[in-house]
Symmetry: C2
Subunit: 315 residues, 2 copies
């Protein structure tokens, strides 16, 4: 226990209140966050992390909800992190998620958390990954990371998953065309949701066609499954495909490699943060402000200011 | 001239080949990029930068195209940077942009460039802003920055504009609901495109409603305009609204403040990069690899590795 408020024992035993509080601590960048994450580290690495991504309106929340229900049926504890690029002042999407998670939200074996960007650029993907660590330490065996997959930071979250599922729908037409390009790279497999609608077969064919363009690789090649998630149809097959991918990653030693790479990235991120924090003290802020007036008179450039600030920096 | 290939004189005189080459230099992270940007700095600051953002399929490219045509009619030189989170292996969206820019693409007074993320996370928004600096130095009076506005890095690009226009469409329904939240924060005003379609009035009303939730501020309050960009309808009004916003920013001294903040952010970004570059030498890479094996045997945590690496770092 590092403080009364953040009780590690209680998190390890799965206390919902303690988990919620710990995630809030991460979200609010509480000064104890780093120490806390350091202490829980050795309890992580047991959960299997599944990224669910795709364009808005594809039914990601519904699929996440039904997958959670499926895993509950197998007796597994499930954590859900829904990441939403929502503004602080509407909060609309958050409510939306809650409504669509009705199948599992009263289930004690499922922990659901929505995370929004709250106006500050960046940082969200880091916080979402740290929240996943907390759920991992708390004993969740499955962690579902749901994100709207268009921007870089959302792709980043999806990349933090062991298996990434990209959800598309038939009718999105050319908007899908534009987006699936970025999504193609990260998909371990695709799900064509709302497969009961017109154009489903054609959509599956066109995704398959793009996949065929990509050179076949040894080992794993992405596939397309069909679901009608609102009725639960195809969801068990999605879970089976996830298991299949997990087995592949384990037997090929790629899971190990993937997680190792993820830790190295994390370390580099943390080092970058600390270097930044050490550098930008009051003195350096003052020097920057001073130099900004030379900029107004065109006596310098931003690049020269950077050199100036760094030249006098000894760590 | 810093080299034969990157001739600053030619860029200042607006040579299309030289501009294209300079932007490629930025995209490919050529070692001379930094020196080049330093040299052109004093020629920047004259262009007015307009961000056009919104969900996929809203008609951003069409509006960008028509706005460019409008500004050409006023005799202004125009630069367009279309940012697309596209994968390197499909390249589909790039072609799409070209097709939709037919009104201006043969015009010598318009420079169009598509930029894609090419697989590497991050860096795109920085490169897009630097490309805008090149266009600025080359004499473009108007720079249109078109991005798919959902993810953080795309919002970041929009924030680099003096005026940001968010484009929405009537039929996007709840997908729009989910997205406009994030877009609300950055919009200087909204455009409801495809306003000839069913549900346009209702969509305008619902955007207006969300805007009304936001407390009215002194000075500028976002508004909603209607366009049918494919037929050019409403585009002149969009240009007028941009001028109105520009006048507001100038008279309230906010343009100055906005640009100053942008330069400070740029300096912080560059300092961060240099600190990172100085830190991660061969020696430190080797230390990290060494420590990773202690991690496998649970003798350490990523956080302890970070401390270890920084403890021995003297700059």
């Amino acid at each position: 226990m590092i403080s009364n408020r953040f009780d590690i024992e209680k998190i390890l035993s799965g206390s919902r209140v303690s988990i919620a509080r710990a995630i809030s601590m991460i979200e609010n960048e509480h000064p104890l966050s780093a120490d806390f994450l350091r202490l829980i580290y050795k309890y992580t690495g047991n959960a299997y992390r599944i990224g669910i991504t795709g364009p808005p309106g594809a039914g990601k929340s519904t699929i996440t909800n039904k997958l959670a229900k499926h895993y509950r049926g197998l007796g597994k504890r499930v954590g859900i992190i829904a990441v939403d690029p929502t503004s602080p002042f509407t909060g609309g999407a958050l409510l939306g998620d809650r409504v669509r998670m009705t199948d599992v939200e009263l289930d004690e074996g499922v922990f659901i958390r929505s995370m929004a960007s709250r106006g500050s650029l960046g940082g969200l993907s880091k916080k979402a990954k740290e929240a996943a660590d907390i759920l991992d330490a708390s004993g969740c065996e499955i962690i579902l990371l749901e994100t709207v997959g268009v921007g870089q930071s959302e792709l980043d979250i999806a990349r933090a998953a062991d298996t990434t599922v990209v959800v598309l729908v038939p009718e999105s037409g050319d908007s899908i065309q534009a987006m699936k390009a970025g999504l193609m790279e990260i998909a371990d497999f695709f799900v064509l949701n709302k497969a009961d609608r017109a154009g489903a077969e054609q959509a599956v064919m066109s995704i398959q066609m793009v996949l065929n363009f990509k050179a076949k690789q040894q080992g794993w090649n992405p596939d397309v499954l069909k679901t009608t998630a609102s009725e639960g149809r195809g969801v068990a097959e999605v879970a089976d495909k996830i298991s299949e991918h997990q087995s592949y990653l384990i037997s090929s030693k790629q899971l190990e490699l993937k997680r190792r790479t993820r830790i190295i990235e994390r370390i580099r991120e943390l080092v970058g943060e600390k270097l930044h924090f050490d550098f930008w003290n009051e003195e350096r802020d003052r020097l920057l402000t001073e130099k900004m007036s030379d900029l107004d008179s065109l006596q310098t450039t931003p690049f020269d200011i950077v050199d100036y600030l760094l030249k006098n920096y000894k760590r």
